[in-house]
Amino acid sequence: MTENALTIRGLNKVYKNKVVALDNIDLNVGMGDFFALLGPNGAGKSTLIGILTSLINKSAGKVQIMGFDIDTHFSCAKSQIGLVPQEFNFNSFEPLIEIIKSQAGYYGLDRKSATDAAEDCLHKLDLWDKRKHTPRELSGGMKRRLMIARALVHDPKLLILDEPTAGVDIEVRRSMWELLSKINGEGKTIILTTHYLEEAENLCKSIAIIDHGKVIIDTSMGNLLEKLNEESFILYLQYPLKGTPILKDFQFKLINKKTIEVTLTNQKSLFDLFSLLNDQDITVLSIRNKSNRLEEMFIKLTSNKSN
């Protein structure tokens, strides 16, 4: 039994137009992990996923999926993966049940097992009532769920989701979060790429950030967030300010008379801030993060790299 669900060593991809999409990538994803693979547009995430799923040919390097090398144990490696691609890629004229059963068949599941697995997935993804419909008749959220159902039908050990919640409303997104957490809880390793960093922060245990084809961070979510040495908050005040508050050792700016933006460094706590405000009879009605913590870290890391 291997320790890693995914092991990547020295992975390179240079496209025909000489664009280096991946530059000597090393990455490990632990068994049972919920792994966020983040990066700005064009960073190389989709290329990496394409190589893992054999939709893109690599230029160099080694990839092992559940211990199976994709070069030497191609078939075994592919059997371990379920892919939810970024774009809808099903036959729009086929009924849902047939799409899922066909996918099971491609993985070698006999007719009965394929039917059972397809029905199970459709129930699980709440698509059973639509089983005889074609994808054209589905909403965007349902289509996303269909892609997850299709990826799960052969019971893969590693589920790869390439921006699975792109373009879906918040309600659907939250229901998908629940579903993905449940799937991960059942023991499946999940690799998730997303531009919603709140999603990655809420769901994932580990994270790698890719930028310009290189891994610039590869750690646990906790470790990464600990490295965040400053955090900005928006404070909504009960009464308008009469003058500029004295907030020594804090960076702040007045957004308007009832709103302040304050940046905390590691050395200062919210308690210190509130004590100072309290001393000046400034009452805080509510408070929120200026942006998601991971988002701040992400912007810092990727902009550092760009600079």
């Binding site: 799923t53 939709l55 078939s75 059997s79 890629n89 086929e94 059963k101 068949g105 491609y106 070698g108």
Partner: protein, 257 residues
């Protein structure tokens, strides 16, 4: 993937392919039957009645095997090229590419879909032909062999076209500018023995001539070419085209980045 799993994957793909063209039978099965009916009426009855017998057969009897073969060729090609290209266009070919299914199973699956359509349309056209002429089978094994190998060959050719096609226009260029002229010049409507010797030699370079004549030999018992040579040429073409398909898919040309 074990052999049993591969056979399941193949069966899945073939069923999907057959279901695809049967679902749109009004576009896939009916038009060739209607077109061939028109050929039989116009070429066979109206014009054919004015043409003398060829090798002891009336003109309509002579062209019937060629028309059946022509429908097999065009439909097996059309099936695999349109199915392969649309699966590329809609990107659901990725369903197969991410699966552990080997490339040769994907090729055989698409080919069997093309063969199925070619044979179903061929059967439909044969039934139509029986309304106009009496078909006596001279050699059933040769008829079946030629029909299967020709449809397989053109299914493979359709896949190659599908691999390189980047638009729906690209899938009609080969049938329009290559396949149709070769079919028309392949002895469907005439015996090459009727041509001047120079054109006879040129015609012998047309592979469709061997398919049409092999099929005609199976039905009528007459041919312009040596049957063994025809079988060798057809088999050689089939193996070559299959190898080209396999090479293209293994390399990922047109389907993998």
């Amino acid at each position: 993937m074990t052999l049993i799993e591969q056979s399941i994957a193949l069966r899945t793909l073939v069923i999907k392919e057959i279901r695809r063209f049967l679902r749109i039978w009004v576009q896939t099965i009916l038009p060739p039957a209607i077109t061939m009916t028109l050929y039989f009426i116009i070429m066979g009855k109206f014009i054919g009645s004015q043409i003398r017998a060829i090798d002891g057969y009336s003109y309509i009897e002579f062209i019937a095997p060629g028309l059946i073969m022509m429908s097999i060729i065009t439909n097996s090609y059309a099936n695999s090229v349109s199915s392969f290209y649309s699966s590329k266009f809609q990107r659901h070919i990725e369903e197969m590419l991410v699966s552990p299914m080997p490339n040769y199973i994907i090729i055989i699956g698409f080919m069997l879909g093309g063969i199925a359509r070619g044979l179903i349309v061929g059967t439909a056209v044969t039934i139509v032909a029986m309304f106009f002429t009496k078909l006596q089978i001279h050699n059933l094994s040769l008829v079946i062999f030629t029909a299967i190998i020709t449809s397989a060959l053109f299914s493979a050719a359709g896949i190659i076209n599908g691999v390189f096609a980047n638009s729906f226009d690209d899938i009609s260029i080969i049938p329009t500018f290559i396949l149709t002229p070769l079919t028309y010049l392949g002895g469907v409507f005439f015996s090459v023995a009727m041509l001047p010797s120079f054109w006879q030699s040129i015609s012998l370079a047309n592979p469709i001539l061997y398919m049409v004549n092999s099929f005609r030999l199976g039905i009528l018992g007459i041919t312009d070419v040596n049957a063994v040579v025809a079988i060798i040429i057809m088999t050689g073409f089939l193996i070559s085209l299959f190898c080209v398909c396999l090479y293209l898919l293994n390399k990922g040309i047109g389907i993998r980045n």
